[in-house]
Symmetry: C2
Subunit: 639 residues, 2 copies
């Protein structure tokens, strides 16, 4: 095992940034990069390195602004509505189309609509022309030498047009910041390889490289360097030799890995900070060697992506002469308590939805290894240092990862998560590209509580009530006594025992479970209620079930736990068992409903959802899934 | 001259869009495009054509979430704070780094901080381990088969990371919409050529092509086709043969040009609409031939760019499965009356600034030929059909072309425009990339009125008062009697007579002007006041000056008019004369001041501006310009 450095000196984010800036300044690297000349049609999105001045006036001659006849205004003064004036073509009047240069000695255009051609060589006019009427004067748009674009301006389509229009073929833009990315970690394999047990796919380099290119830089990714100090020194020296603007060393996931990074930087230069008080992202390293800044990026993907956002992207923009990204920020109330370590700047990924005019933030899973929490995040809440967090119902500020307009069109489904809700979302997006559903898994009862608290637009549930042998209706009455709610059937699903392939323990009913290691679902999950009901039917006490207190949050997680040998059996959907190649013994078909408050039924989002749910296309695809029936899909059961 | 179609059938924008959609639907072209498989590192910004499901779980084995020792929780139950338990290395405890797979039969990790190594083969622990503590369970992030990304999702860096992390090397993204752009117009030359008199640079294709590529499509631009029906038919047939998703025919600027376009479309298919009630942009043509939609784009660059925004960009997004762009929209009050044609959807480019907490919109020049009005625009106000416009002080809605945060950091300078204000803006942007100044030219007195109306943060002025022989102070007292204002000297500038190269009329003083064609400045301009003063000194009546009523709005425009032979003389800055290669006879040095309301002096923007103004770097560069002195630059003259 590698030697370990257990305590990192955590410095505040602002101080780390100031340290980096001071080091850049003293290395002469704080200023925007110099310019390079590019043809206009390759310059979209690039940033001007100097102001652009008009090389030519535009238009560069006086020209007709209308189709008609160019005249000298002085020749027209006698014309009256009641007394037409004849002008000789080619001598006093010249036919011009819009854009044509004015013939010499003319200074006005008469629109063709206001003339009559009396014969081949003469036109009649009925009003005097004012000097310069219907004429685009030379330089109307741009006058040669005037400033057309400022420095540090990111080029848009119209900017390129303006540059071409005033005589430029090229534009001086800042060269792209160049970055070398060195992924490290003996446990890593490139994304092109299939990982063996114990190996992890290296994808942080893909995230960082994409962040860099999205922000105007370009990154080269080296091969993966194992956890070996000498090898890392060699890789770092090679990176330095190509004289990039920045080197990123992506640490492996182990704590020891950061030490290799720090040691390698120290061997060639200086470590400026090691450890920053941000969460996630603590073990960021900032160093400088041979006047090139080096950032040691933590190994967990969320930490790596956030380090990119906090340190790498701002550097790209600084070097391009652009202001930092100012993501739109919103105020929201949080649906869950967020506890933050008091010494850290805490960055929390949140799902956002608007309910009854109020933006609500639901924190997503906080593990730094859960990249899907960033994929799913609508925003990033920043709980500043010296704050202990936010209570449920408290206010927070979040910068947005998606347009607010999209968030406002989001239907939030809380409750039990069925994988086919993703299929519904797919069909909905195919039909109406501007309507989105987001499903947050809190279990069936959690969903009804969320409805009561008005934290979700609708809830997914499959709650069996043994006494009445009904699904869901009983629980609606219990949890939402004061809210009229409609139940719309989503699907019938086959629930049963999920067993290792080949069923080595020969389990066939719940009665066989005592003695086996069972994988349970969390409290409030419909599947857990169903299991409790089956236990009661078989008169088995929960205490007799090994693993009754082991809680997983989804059907797939239960199946994964069985597939990996953590347990001998779990209960869940046929589809989950089959997805993992496991055995399945069906026990019952249950009804999974969507509970929708009646006052939301007429909202555009719910209408679109119901239309998609009831479409023959969706019902056909749903019904074709193993373990699903869609005959009742879309039917309404009034509470 | 080509035959002309004078009346276009203008249909409303919404109807034109509906017509296009109906035609697309009946040609089977309304749906998003099919997918193609791309390596992940080429897929940034592309759009998923189907949902992406996890190919592998991530992690795909249980692994240590901390550096420490993997153990079986059952082996640790006897450990107490007061009674250490010894575990044998390699039999009951296995050293693991974060990310390592758990050895068989272990189900928990004890952090290294909570252990002591008693000898080479034994560690001591002081607390029992809970099952699965500090373990990342298989599938914690993604479980194989679960949906990781939805269809119609534009791929961001973290999305690519997530795809790689769950075992993908490729992703199915929608193929790019392909467009052929045919520029037409006999008067046009490519941007690579220097235009002769009567020729215009063709740059609409560059704007449209850039709009298309910025929105995920790709466009091929053909050579310029002259105003010839057969040639256009040939070009259109060739474009159809390459089976693009869309063909754009860019009309030349003449009205006749649109007819060529319409006739060519008709010869191969159908014209669906010819003329749309939008301003600018009227003569848009929509057609369909061989199941390929064709849009005839008007020739004026602002109309062309707006047609791109209104028709082409939405098509790109539709074909990619993306919702229409929802630009942020703001409410502002307008500083000028906007008159809109009642039958049109009127799109007005506006400059935006925040004054005293209120966003204010100032309409920019409205000519469809003025591409710089789009370059300078901060937003686009939409005056809907059946509205006659907005009065000064009235409210309008504008979609933003720049981030609101940047607009809020904008200092609006109204009044006289000195070209060196652009130099100041350049220096300011170099120093503080997040501070912007925008200068709107309304003449010196216009600037003081704007200050009084609180429509500008500061004003530029050079107003000579003959009686007191002072600059500016007298006029401040007159126009801003109730507002304490500080005058900060911007520059001393040399004013004089701008004359054709070689001074063919031998003009040397104002006394020589009667008989010559003079180019005057607009009322309220400081240069006009100065000219009036010189006329009075020479006892010359304005009536004796030919062209006294010909008004230009800038020094450069006066110089351009002299250069082009419209006039024999004008008055203005030495710098303007020299920029145009003209003769110049200096008459006086004048002071150009910035008038800044005292209550704004402590704002961040003004402080940054004054710091830049007073920097030795700026003053040196300003003083080195011909016709400028900077010895007093930055000095304060209290009113």
């Amino acid at each position: 095992m590698a030697k370990r450095q257990i305590y990192l000196e955590d410095i505040p984010l602002a101080e780390a940034r100031a340290t980096l800036q001071a080091a850049l300044a003293s290395a002469g690297r704080a200023a925007p990069l110099p310019g390079e000349s590019l043809p206009l049609d390759e310059a979209l999105g690039r940033v001007t390195a100097e102001p652009a001045r008009a090389a030519l006036s535009s238009p560069h001659f006086h020209c007709a602004a209308m189709d008609g006849y160019a005249v000298s205004a002085a020749d027209t003064v006698a014309a009256r509505e009641t007394k037409a004036l004849a002008l000789r073509l080619g001598r006093e009047a010249y036919p011009v189309n819009t854009g044509d240069p004015l013939p010499e000695k003319t200074n006005a255009v008469i629109m063709i609509e206001n003339t009559n051609q009396s014969d081949e060589s003469t036109i009649l006019i009925y009003a005097a022309a004012a000097p310069w009427q219907h004429v685009r004067l030379m330089g109307e748009d741009m006058v040669a030498t005037e400033t057309v674009l400022q420095v540090n301006h990111q080029l848009r389509p119209v900017d390129l047009g303006a540059l071409a229009g005033c005589g430029h073929q090229q534009v001086i833009v800042r060269r792209k910041p160049r970055v070398v990315i060195i992924p490290t970690g003996s446990e890593l394999v490139p994304a092109q390889e299939r990982p063996k047990r114990g190996q992890l796919i290296e994808y942080n380099s893909l995230i960082l490289r994409s962040q860099i290119s999205e922000n105007g830089g370009e990154a080269e990714v080296t091969g993966i360097v194992g956890d070996d100090e000498t090898a890392l020194q060699v890789a770092l020296s090679a990176a330095q030799a190509s004289k990039p603007d920045l080197i990123l060393i992506l640490s492996g996931s182990s704590a020891g890995s950061h030490d290799f990074t720090a040691d390698a930087i120290r061997s060639l230069g200086e470590v400026l900070t090691h450890g920053i008080a941000v969460r996630p992202g603590h073990p960021v390293i900032i160093g400088m060697a041979a006047r090139i800044p080096i950032i040691g990026v933590p190994g967990y993907p969320v930490s790596a992506a956030l380090t990119g956002e906090l340190f790498v992207v701002p550097l790209m923009r600084q070097w391009l002469g652009l202001a930092p990204i100012a993501s739109p920020t919103i105020d929201a109330i949080t649906t869950q308590k967020i506890a933050s370590p008091i010494g850290d700047d805490d960055f929390v990924r949140v799902a956002l939805a608007e309910l009854d005019g109020q933006l609500q933030a639901t924190p997503l899973r906080r593990g730094a290894g859960v990249i899907t929490s960033l994929v799913q995040a609508d925003g990033l809440a920043h709980i500043p240092r010296f704050h202990e967090g936010v209570d449920r119902g408290g206010r927070l500020k979040a910068s947005l990862y998606r347009p607010l307009s999209l968030i406002k069109r989001t239907l939030l489904i809380m409750g039990s998560h069925d994988p086919m809700l993703d299929l519904l979302a797919t069909h909905l997006r195919r039909h109406t590209s501007d309507q989105r559903i987001v499903s947050v898994n809190v279990g069936s009862i959690g969903g009804l509580i969320a409805l009561r608290r008005r934290e979700a637009h609708l809830a997914g549930c499959h709650l069996f009530h043994p006494e009445s042998e009904t699904y869901n209706t009983h629980y609606l009455a219990r949890y939402l006594p004061h809210e009229p709610v409609e139940l719309v059937t989503f699907a019938q699903r086959e629930q049963g025992l999920i067993l290792p392939a080949g069923n080595p323990r020969g389990i066939t009913t719940v009665a066989d479970l005592p003695g086996a290691r069972y994988i349970n679902r969390q409290r409030g999950a419909g599947t857990r209620l169903l299991f409790d009901h089956l236990l009661a039917q078989h008169e088995i006490s929960p205490d007799a079930i090994t693993g009754y207190h082991h809680e997983e949050y989804t059907h797939l997680a239960v199946a994964a736990a069985v597939a990996d040998g953590i347990g001998d059996c779990g209960m869940g959907l046929r589809s989950a068992a089959e997805a993992m190649g496991l055995d399945f013994i069906g026990l019952t078909w249950e009804r999974f409903d969507l509970a929708i408050p009646r006052r939301r039924l007429e909202s555009a989002g719910i209408l679109a959802l119901l239309e998609t749910l009831r479409s023959s296309e969706f019902r056909r695809e749903l019904g074709a899934q193993s373990g699903y029936r869609s005959d009742e899909t879309g039917q309404v059961l009034t509470k």
